[in-house]
Structure formats: structure tokens, C-alpha cells
């Protein structure tokens, strides 16, 4: 399976559950649109960050810069229609959404650069070990301090 397909499937994998949860919640609580959408956005950004940690080193290891960036874009841009909907519900302003997405793009590029560096500097089992370490360490940090960085993003 090529890198772009992985990007699409990863995007689908994390945004589909959030979308389904949001729409089914709206069926039962039509009067709580803004709190539900805000809750969905929080879950979406957390899932997006964790998906980046899982997949970006993987893209870096298997593809060149061009394909890895394209897959990264697919992974990040998959829930764009959901973000457009969030703007339309008034749960968040366009500027706020752009700021949050920019922060994630910055984080993704940094992660890709780090992973690419590790790929260049290491090989074999050491590469495998260091990249897995990068993934586990970053994921653990993101999860441990999720309230701080999500709060920093205004969520």
C-alpha cells in the first residue's frame, strides 16, 4: 500500500469516529450544538496529534520528502470539511481554527524533520528502535500533557 493511501486511511480512521459521534449526538441533543461541536473538536485535535505521532515517522522512513509531505497533508486535511462545519455552527472562529491547524502543521513538520534526521543518522535495528522510541515518547508526552496543550490551543 503506498504512502498516500496510508495518509487517506489514517485521516479517515481518526476523523470518522469523531464525525459519527458528533452527528449522532446532534440527533439526541439538537439544542446543544456549540458544546457538542467544541467537544468534537477537542477530540479531533487530540486524535490528529496522536495520528501524526504514529504515522509521520512511518512516512519519513518509507518515502522521500515530497511523498511524505503529501501524505502528511492528506492526514491533516482529511477533516477540513468538519472544521468548516464547526465554523458554520459558530463553535469556533476561522482565525482560531486556522491558528490551531497551523500549530498542528508546525508540529507535524517538526516531527517529520526529526524522523527524517533519525532515518539519515541511523540504520537497521537502531533506526527501528529510535523511531519507535520517538513515537512512544512523543505520544506519551502528548497524552500526559494533553490538558496543557489543548488549553493552550483554546480548547
Amino acid at each position: 500500500m503506498n504512502t498516500l493511501r496510508i495518509g487517506v486511511i489514517a485521516g479517515l480512521a481518526y476523523s470518522l469516529p469523531v464525525t459519527i459521534w458528533l452527528l449522532t449526538s446532534l440527533v439526541w441533543h439538537a439544542d446543544r450544538v456549540v458544546p457538542l461541536v467544541t467537544q468534537a473538536l477537542t477530540a479531533l485535535f487530540l486524535a490528529q496529534a496522536l495520528a501524526l505521532v504514529v504515522f509521520v515517522p512511518w512516512f519519513a522512513e518509507r518515502s522521500g520528502w515530497r511523498l511524505a509531505l503529501a501524505a502528511l497533508w492528506l492526514l491533516l486535511s482529511f477533516p477540513l470539511p468538519l472544521l468548516a462545519m464547526a465554523w458554520a455552527t459558530g463553535a469556533m472562529d476561522a482565525a482560531h481554527l486556522s491558528l490551531m491547524e497551523s500549530a498542528l502543521v508546525g508540529f507535524a513538520v517538526l516531527l517529520l524533520g526529526t524522523a527524517k534526521g533519525l532515518v539519515r543518522l541511523t540504520s537497521g535495528q537502531i533506526r527501528r528502535f529510535t523511531i519507535t522510541g520517538l513515537q512512544l515518547g512523543t505520544a506519551a508526552l502528548l497524552w500526559r500533557f494533553r490538558e496543557i496543550w489543548l488549553d493552550g490551543l483554546g480548547l
Binding site: 439538537a30 456549540v34 477540513l80 470539511p81 458554520a88
Partner: protein, 508 residues
């Protein structure tokens, strides 16, 4: 003072005299400044609060705004309170005072600000902060009633408004709990005040009537709720006794927002969104599987988002309106509560035309402050809304409409009896002693009495509301919308119900 100012001259004065003169000049200017400023204003505004400004917290009252201008033209009058803003457009004739009677819901934390803009002139602003807030129910005393027996009660507070401050709109009666009226004063009221008073009576407002019996008879004809809330007294001294007996009478309030909400139809606004997201996911998967060029795949999320933004930034809304009206069989007017729900189809501004008979909403659930635009010529009222996708905004209106019940319900010693007066062609529900009966379609003039066997209550919201509202009374429920009452245009899609309370058969 003005004369003195104009004759003052400064010629060869000593230094101290000069300062004294300057001080006097300053004082004159300070006193004249407001007068000069007013004279320079293109519009003169006089504020005339109903009930001399007395009101209870949360009530809608009325504010009269008298406008006078040297030059005529369109005037835009904005009345802003803490929670609502009403914009009224009217045409002002030169040098002819125009008085607009506006429903307002003052805010106890902020002044009511009135801004008037005459076409081509600078805005003129006035503030009114002299509302007389009271927590105790207010009883307005109009005419010749002795104070001594009316005062000193814990459960009400009396006040004596000027005749001119009696409301000109039915909503203006909301601040008071009861009215003591000497019918001798009726001749001094203008047509709008009389119409508002009749509206108060039709809406089952509490009234003690004294004075000439002929005028009282004429007025009492308009009373709703089988005249349960009207007392007639022969002598003014008996006013307090009548008021005390009236005070014990309780009227069941019309359903509130939570009571009416279940009557609104279910909107499945999420369905198009589910289709959009499902279609989008499918397109992305197909592109990933079968298209080998990178560009379509990379651009697809942006294209779908742009499409969504294009649709959702146009605003728009879905409108639902339901009403619940109540009438006592044999009365000539009914009270109603209507719930208007506006569900946004996108993010934007939306102006919704509402019937002018609706007045100001008595309650609303909306993220933004209430904004109403009111045109006087021709009469048109619009709610100005900021809509957001899927977000419902609800507004509750109350009022009274004229008309008789299409079915008569009499409570005889043997039980209830339903008579079709000839206009109703559907079936109805009867609630009697906590039981449910279906009233079949009746030909004009036909009578019907309930059978021995009652039915099981249904679970529909209107049946639940019927059960609740008729817990202590016998009542009929039938479909009846505000279109049937003549308040709405035929084109408006609306639902509604009419509860007909039984009239006790009079004993010979």
C-alpha cells in the same frame, strides 16, 4: 437670567468686577447650554413610560416616545435595553407630534436608551432609568377608590398611575397583577388605551370595576375565562373586599417554553450533513484507490470544504411555529402562547417577518440579544437574527385573539356535553375527571356525550399537555393553528392546538 445675560457689558471695570462678570457669564452659559443644545436638535423626544414607570422584574411594559421635528421625514427609533434592541421606522410629518407606543422589557441593571435618527440629521439620544422596580405584585388603582382599605397588605402593592400612562398596547398590561378601575374614567381614555384594556380583559386579567353600571356592562362583555376574574362593586369602599376575593382566584398560566417545545416537529437537520460526510469519505477512498495522480487527492478536502463554506456562509434558516391556545366555551376570545423556532442553515444574518400582533417575545433562548425591526407604514415586524448552522433559537410569544370556540363544551349535572356549533369538521379529545375520550366527527349542531368506557392516554406531547392543563377541569383539545385564528398568513406552515375549557351550565 436670560435677560440679565444679554444686557451685561464689560466696560472699564476693576479686576475683581471683571472676574465677577466672567463668573456670571460662565454660569449663564452653563444654564443655557442644554437649552441651546435642545434647540439645535433636529428632533424633540419625550419619553412616556406606561404605569408611570412602575413594573415588576422581567415584565414587558410599554414606553411611549413622542417625537416632534421642524422638518419631516423617515425616523428610525431604536430602543435598547440590556437584553433587547427594537428598531422602529415611522414617518414624521413636519411640526406634527408623533407618539409611538413600544413594548419594552427593561433591564434592572441598565438604563433604557432611546435613539432617534431623522433622515439627514444627527442621532438624538435619551435615557430612561427611572423604572420603579417592585418585587411585590402591583395593583393599579385608577379613579375614585379610597386608599385606606387598599394599603397595608403584604401580598400586593397599590399605586395610582396617571390616566395618560395607561398602556396603549395589550402587552403593556404585563407589569400589573390587578386593576381597580372606575368606569367614569373610561371617557378620558383614547381608542388605543380602550383596545389595550379590552385585550387585558380578554386575556383573563384581574379587574375590579366600579362606577356607572352601563359602562361596566359594556366593558365586562370582553372578559375572558367566563368572567371569573372580574368583580363589580357598587361602592368604592368595597373595592378592597372585591380585590381580596379576586386575589384568591388563580389562573393556570399558559405553557412556557419547556411545555411548548415538545410540540415542535423534529428537524432532522443532521441528515444532509451525514450524507455530505459519507459522500466525502467515499470520494476520498475512491480517489486513493483508483486515481494515480496526486493533485485530485490533495485538492479534494479543500474543494469539499470550500463547497461547504459556500453553502454554510449564506445563512438561511428553517422555521417552525407551534401554538397552544385556551378558551372557555362560550367566550369570544382566546389566550395563546406561540413558540417560534429558527434553526440556522448556516452562519449569517437572517431577517424573519413575524406577525405584528405578536408583540415582543416574553421569553427567548438565543445566544445573541433580541433585535426587532418594526415598520409602521405599512405595518411589518421582523426579527433580526444571527444564525448558525444547526443552532436553534426559540422565541415565545403570548397574546389574545378574538373568536368563538368551534365546539361548545358544557358541564351538565350528568356530565360533559359537546356541541358542534357548525364550523368544525375534525375529531377532538376530551379530558374529563382525568380520563381520555375521543370525540368523533360531529355534523353541525350535533351533540355528543362521553361513553362509559374511557380510553388509555396516548404519549403524544399534545395529549401530555392536555392532561397537565386539564388536571382540575374538563376540557376539549382540537387542532387549531394561528392561521385559523387569522393571525398568520395562509402560506405559513404552522401547527397548533386549542384547549376548550368547559362552561358550567347555569342553574335556572
Amino acid at each position: 437670567m436670560i435677560f440679565e445675560c444679554s444686557t451685561v457689558q464689560i466696560v472699564n471695570r476693576s479686576r475683581s468686577e471683571f472676574f465677577q462678570r466672567s463668573w456670571r457669564y460662565g454660569a449663564c452659559l452653563w444654564l443655557l447650554a442644554p437649552l441651546l443644545a435642545m434647540a439645535a436638535e433636529p428632533l424633540q423626544i419625550e419619553l412616556l413610560p406606561a404605569w408611570n414607570g412602575w413594573l415588576r422584574a422581567g415584565a414587558v411594559t410599554e414606553l411611549g416616545v413622542r417625537l416632534t421635528a421642524e422638518q419631516g421625514g423617515e425616523v428610525i427609533l431604536t430602543v435598547a435595553t440590556g437584553s433587547a434592541r427594537t428598531e422602529t421606522r415611522a414617518f414624521l410629518e413636519p411640526q406634527a407630534p408623533l407618539t409611538l407606543w413600544l413594548p419594552v422589557q427593561p433591564d434592572s441593571n441598565s438604563a433604557t436608551v432611546v435613539t432617534a435618527v431623522l433622515a439627514g440629521h444627527a442621532p438624538v439620544q435619551r435615557e430612561f432609568a427611572d423604572w420603579q422596580w417592585r418585587a411585590t405584585p402591583l395593583v393599579a388603582v385608577v379613579g375614585n377608590w379610597p386608599d385606606s382599605q387598599l394599603t397595608g397588605r403584604q401580598d400586593w402593592m397599590i399605586f395610582r398611575p396617571n390616566l395618560g400612562s395607561l398602556p396603549h398596547t395589550p402587552q403593556g398590561y404585563q407589569p400589573i397583577a390587578a386593576l381597580l378601575l372606575d368606569t367614569a374614567v373610561l371617557v378620558s381614555l383614547d381608542e388605543a388605551q380602550l383596545a389595550a384594556l379590552r385585550g387585558y380583559l380578554s386575556g383573563c386579567g384581574k379587574l375590579v370595576l366600579g362606577g356607572p353600571p352601563a359602562a361596566a356592562d359594556r366593558l365586562q362583555r370582553f372578559a375572558g375565562c367566563q368572567e371569573r376574574f372580574v368583580r363589580r362593586v357598587e361602592a368604592p369602599e368595597l373595592g378592597s373586599v372585591a380585590l381580596a376575593s379576586l386575589w384568591l382566584e388563580q389562573i393556570l398560566a399558559l405553557p412556557g417554553m419547556t411545555g411548548l417545545e415538545p410540540l415542535l416537529p423534529d428537524r432532522e437537520s443532521w441528515r444532509p450533513l451525514a450524507l455530505l460526510f459519507a459522500g466525502y469519505a467515499l470520494v476520498m477512498l475512491l480517489l486513493a484507490m483508483f486515481v494515480h495522480q496526486m493533485a485530485p487527492l490533495l485538492l479534494a478536502p479543500v474543494a469539499v470544504s470550500a463547497l461547504g463554506l459556500a453553502v454554510w456562509s449564506r445563512g438561511g434558516a428553517e422555521i417552525d411555529l407551534v401554538s397552544w391556545a385556551e378558551i372557555t366555551s362560550g367566550d369570544t376570545s382566546a389566550r395563546y402562547a406561540a413558540l417560534l423556532r429558527v434553526t440556522g442553515q448556516g452562519r449569517g444574518d437572517y431577517a424573519l417577518t413575524v406577525p405584528t400582533a405578536f408583540g415582543l417575545p416574553t421569553a427567548w433562548d438565543s445566544a445573541s440579544p433580541l433585535a426587532i425591526e418594526d415598520y409602521r407604514q405599512p405595518a411589518r415586524r421582523r426579527l433580526l437574527l444571527h444564525t448558525r448552522l444547526l443552532e436553534p433559537q426559540t422565541f415565545r410569544f403570548t397574546g389574545v385573539f378574538d373568536g368563538a370556540a368551534p365546539l361548545n363544551l358544557m358541564l351538565t349535572p350528568t356530565g360533559p356535553e359537546v356541541v358542534n356549533t357548525g364550523r368544525f369538521t375534525g375529531s377532538a379529545l376530551l379530558a374529563w375527571q382525568g380520563q381520555r375520550y375521543t370525540v368523533p366527527r360531529l355534523p353541525p349542531g350535533a351533540r355528543w356525550t362521553p361513553p362509559q368506557q374511557a380510553e388509555i392516554w396516548g404519549t403524544t406531547p399534545q395529549e401530555q399537555l392536555l392532561r397537565l392543563e386539564s388536571a382540575t377541569e374538563t376540557a376539549l383539545l382540537l387542532p387549531f393553528t394561528l392561521k385559523d385564528a387569522g393571525l398568520l398568513a395562509a402560506a405559513v406552515d404552522t401547527g397548533g392546538w386549542l384547549l376548550i375549557k368547559a362552561r358550567q351550565e347555569e342553574q335556572p
